[in-house]
């Protein structure tokens, strides 16, 4: 037997044995699985949405600040559109927050 074949067998052996162990765990109830995935999704959802919202709002604020730096007298006129843009971008992250709150209700107590 050459070494490559030996290494391949050694790699596959744990995969084949652990499959039976996982099969036993998979026969558990379904409600706990939904709760686990719901908890994971609730956390990750808001995290990813917050990352996207941060990027978007950073661009909006950077554009407004650059406009104010070029023309400090226009800062009053730039303020309202900047706040409006920030609120609209933030509302996308808030939709994700609403979905997360709905998912939090799906986690069974103690699960």
């Amino acid at each position: 037997m050459n070494k490559t074949w030996l290494r391949f067998v050694a790699f596959c052996a744990p995969l084949l044995t652990t499959a039976t162990v996982f099969a036993q765990e998979g026969a558990a109830s379904n409600a706990n699985d939904v709760g686990k995935f719901a908890a994971l999704a609730a956390g990750l959802g808001v995290g990813i949405a917050a990352a996207g919202c941060g990027l978007g709002q950073g661009r909006a604020a950077a554009a407004a600040l650059e406009g104010i730096a070029r023309n400090p007298g226009a800062s009053d006129k730039l303020f309202t559109p900047m706040i409006l843009g920030l609120a609209l971008i933030e509302s996308l992250a808030i939709y994700a927050l609403v979905v997360s709150i709905l998912l939090l209700g799906k986690i069974p107590a103690g699960g």
């Binding site: 706040i83 409006l84 509302s91 808030i94 927050l97 709150i101 709905l102």
Partner: protein, 263 residues
């Protein structure tokens, strides 16, 4: 104060009204729980909304009676009175609406959007007072405001443009060779139009709920000075959300009634 309760629980008829509300919801859901959050429906937002409406009515009456003579009362008083505050807000509303819709349409829709702006501003601000729950933190209130704007948009769009209002749903090209494109555009436009009141409602509701939740958590952690930045942020969010709701509803109404000119 437990989550979901406010000072309005001390009203004398609260227990009977709460029992009435729970029995009222029973035919619509099996166990009396709401369908979206599976909790008992609360009535605190009803009390708070009625309180804010009563406050707005009182402020309106005070402002109206303080302007008796159209010529003599033209110059506003120099201090901060209710009349000055209301004039400031109404003037700002009117200026922002004229920028979007033009002065004539802005004057026509100022009662609707101005009332929305006032109501949402006062309702949001009510939540900053410890022990009160903002009525706009409940999806029912905000969805009601959004649906009113939605119905207004379509009724005035149909009234101004008639068939053109529906023709815009079908997309850029209309004709038998493009039937598939028309159907696709109709679906997309319908979903986009339905998403507008929903997004108006959800944005306001989620902002207020998140704000109230953050304030509750901070007040539970360190009640002394640490919640102060959260209160400042809360005050900013209160004004900004009222502004965003009014501006977006103005933009939607303006879009619906302005289509006649650009053909």
């Amino acid at each position: 104060m437990p989550h979901g309760e406010s000072w309005f629980s001390l009203l004398p008829f609260h227990a009977r009204f709460m029992a009435f509300a729970r029995n009222f919801g029973k035919p619509f859901n099996e166990d009396g729980l709401t369908w979206y959050a599976h909790e008992h429906p609360g009535v605190q937002h009803i009390y708070a909304a009625l309180f804010v409406l009563g406050l707005l009515a009182i402020i309106g009456v005070i402002t109206d009676t303080s302007i008796r003579d159209a010529r003599g009362d033209l110059v506003p008083p120099s201090k901060l009175t209710i009349r000055n505050f209301v004039e400031l807000l109404v003037g700002t509303c009117f200026r922002m609406m004229s920028d979007i819709m033009g002065a004539k349409a802005a004057r026509h829709f100022l009662p609707l959007v101005g009332t929305c702006a006032f109501f949402i501003l006062f309702s949001n601000a009510l939540g900053l007072i410890p022990g009160f729950l903002p009525p706009t933190s409940n999806f029912n209130t905000t969805l009601a405001c959004g649906l009113v704007i939605f119905v207004t948009t379509h009724i005035y769009g149909l009234k101004t443009n008639g068939w053109n209002h529906i023709k815009h749903f079908f997309g850029p090209v209309i004709g038998w060779p493009w039937v598939l494109l028309m159907i696709l555009m109709f679906l997309i436009e319908t979903i986009s139009h339905i998403a507008r009141p929903l997004s108006l409602g959800i944005r306001l509701m989620a902002n207020m709920t998140a704000d109230h939740l953050v304030l509750t958590i901070f007040l539970g952690l360190v009640p002394f000075l640490v919640p102060l930045p959260m209160y400042i942020l809360g005050a900013v969010v209160v004004v900004v959300q009222a502004l965003v709701f009014s501006l977006l509803s103005t933009a939607y109404i303006g879009l619906a009634i302005q289509e006649a000119e650009h053909h």
